[in-house]
């Protein structure tokens, strides 16, 4: 629900004269939001009809489209950093973080349903944790404009597990 509200705020603000032509919308979001939505919808519709590997593949495509959006927004020039962040960037950072957490769940579910051995499940779990941890460190420390929302939500989800 929060995702939809935040996206609603973004869609409303990007229609206003103040924000509609900004590079953050035209170059940053560009067509990525529509592509991500289509990938998510495809995943949602096909979910019951395809096997777990197919579901996971579509979900990874969905995750990659959101990552594309976040990356393009990162490099888009920004005139009004605060307003642009809260209205145009924050909704997608939140969305991406949430979908990243979901991806972890999807990988775990897929392995469990395939009756993989505990060793495989544990190994993938440890490996994926290491990858996400590396990703969190990267977006926090290696970038000139760090992302704070993504590590926070991933961290909270790991704690809540």
């Amino acid at each position: 629900m929060i995702n939809f509200l935040l996206q609603g705020v973004f869609v409303f603000m990007q229609l206003t004269a103040r924000f509609r032509a900004l590079p953050m919308v035209q170059m940053g979001v560009s067509y990525w939001y529509l592509v991500a939505t289509l990938a998510q919808t495809l995943w949602l519709i096909l979910l019951p009809f395809i096997n777990d590997w197919g579901s996971l593949t579509i979900f990874i495509v969905f995750w990659l489209t959101l990552m594309g959006l976040i990356t393009f927004q990162y490099y888009a020039p920004s005139d009004r950093p605060v307003a642009e962040y809260w209205f145009l960037k924050f909704p997608f950072e939140f969305y991406f973080a949430w979908v990243t957490v979901m991806l972890l769940g999807e990988i775990s579910i897929t392995l469990q349903r395939q009756n993989s051995s505990p060793v495989v499940i544990l190994s993938v779990g440890i490996l994926s944790f290491a990858i996400w941890f590396g990703g969190v460190i990267f977006v926090l420390l290696a970038l000139t404009k760090p992302f704070y929302v993504i590590p926070t939500i991933i961290g909270l989800s790991i704690v809540s597990y």
């Binding site: 032509a21 979001v29 019951p48 979901m102 769940g105």
Partner: protein, 95 residues
């Protein structure tokens, strides 16, 4: 030469005033162009479409399920399985 000198002072003043008015009109036109809002572009419309699609399908599928009309109850079964295995997935589906 005689012709130039023969131009009256009033003609010079009149020309100068015309130029000034022209300049002023140009400045006003330029300001008007700057003040006019940018028109909505394709990306703006597509973002609205994306949100509507994003809202429509979860609500439609949820409604379909609630009415018990999903094909062979397949969504319902899937969601039940996912609820047992991962609450987050359920929350995401109908968030």
């Amino acid at each position: 030469m005689t012709e130039e000198l023969g131009r009256s002072r009033s003609e010079f003043v009149s020309e100068a005033l015309d130029d000034e008015i022209q300049d002023e009109n140009n400045v006003q036109a330029s300001d008007a162009i700057k003040a006019a809002p940018e028109p909505l572009r394709l990306v703006n419309y597509l973002n609205v479409t994306a949100l509507l699609v994003n809202l429509f399908f979860p609500i439609a599928i949820f409604g379909f399920d609630m009415l018990g009309n999903s094909p062979r109850g397949i969504y319902q079964n899937k969601v039940c399985i996912d609820m047992n295995s991962n609450l987050l997935e359920y929350a995401f589906l109908y968030s």
